[in-house]
Symmetry: C2
Subunit: 189 residues, 2 copies
């Protein structure tokens, strides 16, 4: 065991990380200053730096927290739904809800941050894998353009997040999701 000696931290690390996550989510990495963060959290700079490291490390941890909480619904759907069609339907439906939840920043942190290109690429690869699996099992026609379909889903989710950031309502996003789903290829009955 470690020494566990010294003055105790005067704030809840998880709670502060959540406030930081929401700040980055709302305004982005660049537009959120450390002064903003110390203001909203009430934690002074030295304590913030001691607990999380510099601004980039804090952002990285905020993004990780976002993925594990607010943004986890996508990975959950891909894991739990049996077919790509069901997973995509659930993702788009839940995105309409998640992107417009009151008392939260609108849209998706990862889709809104230019610097998170790699995470977006991972998401697209996950879509591709799910669709490819359906083609392999015969749930989708053999000739299906896997990459194309994955890109269309990626584009739809990005479009929904962008509209949410501009103030689109939950119902409007749900309608966008339904319209997009009507472009999904007919299943092999």
């Amino acid at each position: 065991m470690s020494a566990m000696v010294g003055r105790k931290r005067g704030f809840d690390r998880d709670e502060v990380l959540d406030q930081v996550t929401r700040a980055f989510w709302r305004d982005g990495f660049q537009a959120t200053s450390v002064a903003d963060l110390t203001g909203t959290t009430g934690v002074n700079p030295p304590s913030l730096y001691a607990a999380f490291g510099d601004k980039r490390a804090l952002f990285a941890e905020a993004v990780a927290r976002y993925q594990a909480t607010y943004g986890a619904f996508t990975a959950r759907a891909l894991e739990e739904e049996p077919t790509a069609r069901q997973a995509v339907e659930r993702i788009l439906t839940e995105a309409a809800i998640e992107y417009t939840t009151p008392d939260r920043p609108k849209g998706c942190l990862i889709l809104s941050s230019p610097e998170l290109h790699d995470l977006r690429d991972q998401a697209r690869q996950a879509f591709e894998a799910k669709i490819r699996h359906d083609v392999a099992t015969g749930a989708l026609p053999a000739g299906t353009d896997v990459r194309r379909l994955a890109l269309f889903v990626a584009a739809t989710v990005r479009g929904m997040s962008s509209l949410a950031r501009d103030g689109a309502t939950r119902e409007e996003l749900r309608d966008v999701a339904r319209t997009a789903l009507s472009a999904w290829p007919a299943p092999v009955a």
Copy 2:
């Protein structure tokens, strides 16, 4: 006529404005510093401020220039094509090209800039008007949800711009456009 007296400007105002437009387009308003602009244009701060005003005014003029040139294809399609379907097909097809033109920033300046929410709303209203006209003339079914269809087009274009910024190819965007178009309601034959 004005006096036309005094030392002449030592740079081409239009050329400099184009360079500024591309800088804002590539990096956004916040991330592009005045020092960046003086660096890329070779124009010193006092000359830049004398010619364009402060940074916000310069950005506004760059956006206006973008709308009149690189981003004009959307308004052109809405004006020139007879039906909403044809206009949207042309917009999506040309967006795939415009958003991936070599030696240019990728994607759309207006869709990438959080501060241009009003211009995006104007674009959505223009889509709506075009679609509503088709419903009125019978080119689209009477029960068509105009707002819903316009939002879907807006979402698709935003998604394509976002994908382009992340490095999607022209062909990938074209495929996204085609997939989205397959969700368009059947015309009243």
